[in-house]
Symmetry: C2
Subunit: 207 residues, 2 copies
């Protein structure tokens, strides 16, 4: 609505159009952002624009795992503190950020770049699965952790990879599904609750 | 939380920091925007960055009214279809966009650049009030419409200007305050409802 009228400036119109391409940013928010920039210092706007362009010129993907990096290999793959024999398989590099923020994983990662989704035309060959198999064979990997979405596509992808590495004597695991920490039982959906009963863990009194 | 850990890339960190300077954009949204750009085409990101820098280089403020423009004067001030003797006084150029979108105003504008707010150290000399008085004297203005916020600062500012133009035989009006169109009486606050009773308008059967 607010954008149906011309802004007396095509430059503003262009900025609004560009900003509203972001997911979750509508025309109204884009206009508010544009007006904020109009009042901002020129050097600040240039810093912002520079930071965005730098994203495309400086950020690359790790040749080993597919994580974002500014060098040939990412800081996780080059770290001496990470267990290279333990690979966590994720869909996207965003997932690495999430898992790293937990501080609970000391292995390395492998980014598939998607999951098998026949309905969307994504097959195994579109993903970095052959690269993963290569790593498993060459680097003496001992365990795979599947950290994929708890849906059909995620399950299919894990199953496909598991079949491919059959006979390699590889330990495999998937991240636990269950009630969120702090979550109330009555608000959990039945499938999650069912899975968390099936996957119950031993309970012991701490001595 | 999600930003407490390093991103394995200072470029991404910088982009997130820059994007989260926008009002209403937190670190999480900024990260989502950054990851969107990482997957975006390089030429698209350059278009975005260019559009933002253009805001500061191309957009100027109209020498007459303070509206945004890419020329010396804005398209409203230079239009032959606008009544130059009717000036609508607004706080910010954003307000012009809102009023223009209604299509109900055929006069011109004057942007004050703020309202009198002693608590924030904004006095009359910080606003474009002397420029407004100049216009009133030089351009034979006949009517002022105050379209300022319905609060203490807006009222003070209108009062200050009204006192300054006393004796100039100028017609003055303020935009109506009242129940929003489509609004239910029971949800209106008492002050708004009281004002809308005081400022009731003649009601006539259409014949």
């Amino acid at each position: 609505m607010i954008c149906s009228v011309n802004f007396t400036s095509s430059t503003i119109e262009k900025a609004v159009e560009q900003l509203s391409r972001f997911p979750g940013i509508g025309k109204k928010t884009a206009l508010r952002m544009t007006l904020f920039l109009l009042k901002d210092k020129p050097e600040h706007v240039e810093m912002l624009a520079g930071a965005l362009v730098d994203l495309k010129t400086k950020v690359k993907f790790c040749a080993t795992c597919g994580n974002i990096t500014e060098a040939e290999l990412c800081s996780i793959c080059t770290s001496v503190n990470r267990n290279k024999k333990l690979i966590c398989v994720v869909k996207d590099f965003q997932d690495i950020i999430s898992i790293e923020n937990t501080g609970q994983f000391s292995g390395v990662y492998h980014v598939l770049g998607g999951v098998i989704a026949p309905m969307e035309g994504v097959g195994p060959d579109d993903l970095a699965i052959s690269e993963l198999l290569e790593r498993i064979k060459n680097e003496g990997v001992e365990e795979l952790v599947f950290a994929l979405s708890a849906n059909m596509e995620g399950d299919t992808t894990a199953f496909y990879i598991a079949r491919k590495v059959e006979g390699l004597n590889l330990k495999m695991s998937a991240i636990a599904r269950g009630i969120a920490v702090g979550g109330e039982l009555e608000y959990a959906d039945e499938i999650t609750l069912g899975r968390s009963i099936l996957n119950r863990v031993p309970y012991a009194l701490k001595s």
